[in-house]
Amino acid sequence: MPSMDAISRNLMLDSLRDYAKKHIPYDLIRDKDQANEFPAEILKDMYDHSILGVHLLLVPEEHGGVSGGTYDIYRICELLAHIDLGIATSVFATFLGTDPLNVGGTEDQKKKWLQRIAKENLMVAYAATEPDAGSDLINLRTRAEHVLKNGQLAGYRITGNKQWISNGGVADLYTVLAMASGGPCWFLVERDMEGFSPGKHEDKHGIRLSNTASLALDGVYVPKENLIGGVEGQGLLQAQAVFGYTRVMVAAFGLGAGWEAVEQAVRYSQQRIQAGGPLSDKQGYMHKLIVPHAVKLEAARAYIEDVANRLDSGEHGLQTEGAIAKYSASEAGNRAADDAIQAFGGYGYTRDFPVEKIKRDIKITCIYEGTSEVLEMTIYRGRWQEHLKTRGRYYLDIADRMDALHDRNPNTGARAAGLALRTLAAVMEECRLQKLTRHQAVTFKLGRLISVCELAYLFAEASAKEKYSESVRFDTQAWQAMARIFARDAAVQLATEGPALVLGAVENAASMASAADMDQVRAVQKGMMEDMDLVAAKLKQTFKAR
């Protein structure tokens, strides 16, 4: 679905922000977190048509929804994550649970079930994971046996166990992945069906406001109309078709929760006086604990927005891009939250300040919807194909684009991004020649280096635009300084870690001596200190002490 108009989207964001301000104070979140309690009242309001109706974003207009596009959902997910990642996860689970229907449902199924989700405010859960099948759904053990009536297929009897299901204990409707004789399929299972029983709310490290439970299905009978799409064996395809898009949502979680931690730290640093002045005036503090995270989060934002806009303009799949978005934003957010605790010192280690909770919460974004390691492999696989198909030109072509951008606008870090991309191309080619991708560790690391390079060039391009998107809270001067900082770091990372990756695995790799143009990599570092100072100053200006 294309995204909605900016005015409508921002009115919805304002309504959600206002609701959170009035009804979700930190004290309430902290108490629920400690009590490991699902905030049923808040979720009820979120689904209430006359109060918010957030779940309607995923439902098309013709079925009673508001037809949100990926960009809209990214913005709402980011804001939800600012509020509380547990609440965000609960809303997300409904989005996710609705997806198999949106992607694979027949028109009749969409009409029936999407309308019910919209009208009856159904909370949905997405039940794929099993005790022995997480990232590898191929090990699926839940079975769906045919039930015949008069020799005709009437329905299915589902038996099996599901694990770590968000909204598991509280949902009204479940989309359950099970193996039928024709292959994996999604089934719609209602809470009150016989033989269906959710387990207890798990005692988790973080997102404790999100209900997570196991599910037991003991011969649950569903009519054949509840097989999504009506054809067996489409389940994994239907699941994969939305990964680009669902991972953008989790990327938005990493971005939102990560920024919440950074904002809290920036505000705190201006109040906390140490050695005669506020912490925010201490260059070492800002350069180490604050600025790098703001930069990485904004780089991730530029990438997320690119993927969201591409999906909204009709591109399909974008699995590699969705993986890069999610991997980069969740890792950046997780590290930002860790350093936010450090930035708060002893106070950050207590539960009186939200950064401690954010740190526990945000870790899940590196795990669910594909762990960082699975994503590293996904990213490597996707781009390795491009490298082979283009005979190594894939990143060299983008590097040429970066040089052209630098000629037009020397302020975006494009030169440094180009250097990183050329090194990446050389490292990938050497990996091909020496067959190094037989080492799994090499593929993981390539996945990481690929992500860094892709963020660097997309951030450079985004920062060169005349007008930034509505989500960017910085001016051109600040955003371009951030793009330069990110690209310089990328150039250094590739120049050091890229060749090291190859040299560590082979006897001889002469080409690695020239994989990176070290003179250029050194030359582009000029101005780093000044840019870091500038970003520190802009952060203080944007997030004042309250």
């Binding site: 409508s8 009115l11 919805m12 309504s15 918010l52 974003l57 037809s67 004042k544």
Partner: protein
């Protein structure tokens, strides 16, 4: 009856910063919001609509992005919206703005009650609402917290120093609104925002409302803003400790030293 509600898009004053070197407002990155008094006026109009079935039109003047506050009015339940947007309006002072809004009211047609916020939080003038009433030659009641309607009679509770007074007037009239202490602002739900897109929303230029250029914009405005600057910082306060007696003596000593008392 037909109610017109005047709303304005303003920078969120809690987020506005002043450039200490130039003394000008830093508007970049400051979110725009609906003027809170106008937000209350809108809600008051919706209550009247719910009670009496009145028709509500939301009216604003501003750049194209001010359409946001008109759409918010529609999402909160208004029936139609009008945005006055034209470069000719840019820089209008309160007189020019009320001239244009009065012209718009005439074009809208039979309007029985005009509601406006008491003032906008960016300029704090409280002049535009009363200005519209003056231009239209209709009665006005300012600082209203509650409005009841009985036929053509409007019974209005207005805030005064130390309490309130009940005022009666007859439609057509203009009321400027100020929220009571127990007021809770309402925001539209997602589906309400979505369906507001289907309601009629017109953008009118100066020509559309028959406004004469000589009375519009910076040139047509009788008042000009010479300078905006932050108030000078106060000198540091002196704190005196000790008992109340000692503190009072200390304050008297300072007042005497500075020649405030003998």
């Amino acid at each position: 009856m037909h109610i017109a509600v005047c709303v304005k898009q303003v920078p969120d004053s809690t987020e506005v910063k002043i450039n200490p070197e130039t003394g000008t407002l830093i508007r970049a990155g400051v979110p725009s919001i609906i003027n809170p008094y106008d937000h209350f006026a809108l809600q008051a109009a919706m209550e009247l609509k719910a009670a009496h079935g009145f028709r509500v039109t939301v009216v604003s003047m501003g750049p194209p992005q001010a359409r946001s506050v008109v759409q918010m009015g529609l999402a909160l339940g208004a029936d139609d919206g009008v945005l006055l947007s034209d470069m000719a309006f840019a820089g209008s002072d309160t007189w020019s703005t009320s001239y244009a809004l009065a012209k718009a009211m005439k074009k809208i047609g039979k309007v029985d009650i005009i509601l406006a916020g008491m003032q906008a939080i960016d300029g704090d003038t409280a002049q535009t609402g009363p200005g519209i009433a003056q231009q239209l030659g209709i009665p006005q009641v300012s600082f209203c917290v509650k409005v009841d309607v009985d036929g053509r009679k409007l019974i209005v509770r207005r805030l005064i120093d130390g309490g309130h007074e009940i005022v009666e007037t007859r439609a057509p009239a203009l009321l400027t609104m100020i929220m009571p202490k127990d007021y809770v602002s309402k925001y539209p739900s997602f589906p309400a925002v979505h369906s507001s897109l289907k309601k009629p929303c017109h953008t009118w230029s100066a020509a559309d409302i028959g406004a004469e250029a000589q009375y519009l914009g910076l040139k047509g405005s009788p008042t000009q803003v010479a300078k905006i600057y932050p108030p000078p910082q106060r000198e540091k306060a002196a704190m005196s400790g000790g008992s109340s007696q000692e503190a009072v003596e200390k304050i008297l000593e300072i007042l005497a030293r500075e020649n405030f008392v003998e």
